[in-house]
């Protein structure tokens, strides 16, 4: 009996589901980490692993198969050149799914999916984001100070007039 092993339908018809999974797999390969819901994370896992297996084969036929599934050429290049060589000594289990929190609105449980061994890349990305954020904050602060200074210079003559009137 193969009851209850059909996999995930994700409430979509076949074409919609296939598009969703292809998009998820492509995004994961390009970004190394994505945030999604638990059922989607579990549904995409076998597809990602099949892509990495193709990447490890590395021949032209494998490359064409991967290109027919992944959405962008860039992701195919990345899969074959940087991701597949990372998993040379590992047979499957290339993903890490960590549950994080619950989605506001429908309460779905969310998790992030990341490729093993992408910690360094992800840390670099996070540092870049933090730098950009610090820069934005500094710029906003500067703009606010300038606006304040301008307001003071505009307010000063008016205040002087008022004082004269009072006299």
């Amino acid at each position: 009996m193969r009851h209850k092993v059909a996999g995930w339908k994700l409430g979509r018809n076949t074409a919609h589901r296939r598009s969703l999974l292809r998009n998820l797999v492509t995004s994961l390969i390009v970004e190394e980490r994505i945030e999604t819901t638990i059922p989607k994370a579990k549904a995409m896992r076998p597809h990602v692993e099949k892509m990495i297996t193709l990447g490890k084969r590395g021949d032209l036929a494998a490359r064409r198969l991967a290109a027919s599934y992944l959405m962008t050429d860039e992701s195919v290049v990345k899969l074959f050149d940087t991701i597949a060589p990372r998993f040379g000594d590992r047979n499957g289990g290339y993903l890490r799914i960590v549950r994080t929190a619950w989605q506001k609105g429908d309460g779905a449980e969310k998790a992030f999916v990341e490729l093993l061994g992408s910690e360094k890349v992800l840390d670099e990305k996070r540092e870049k984001r933090a730098e950009a954020r610090a820069k934005r904050v500094a710029e906003a602060k500067k703009a606010m100070e300038e606006a304040e200074a301008q307001a003071q210079t505009q307010a000063a003559p008016e205040a002087a007039e008022k004082q004269e009137e009072e006299k």
């Binding site: 960590v98 549950r99 994080t100 929190a101 992030f112 910690e119 996070r126």
Partner: protein, 61 residues
Amino acid sequence: MPNPKRRHSQKRTSTRRAHDALSKHSLSECPNCHEKKMPHRACAKCGYYKGREVVEVEEAS
């Protein structure tokens, strides 16, 4: 259509619901910040899971 024949007493209702109580989650302690956290999940307070900061958590300001 079938209909209830007799009024349900409050006792009957509350007796039926005696076993409906929800149980508390069993929480574990975060090894990084020592807050209570849900098991098998990243810590909601500090974003750590298995000794690594896995999600950025915005500090309340």
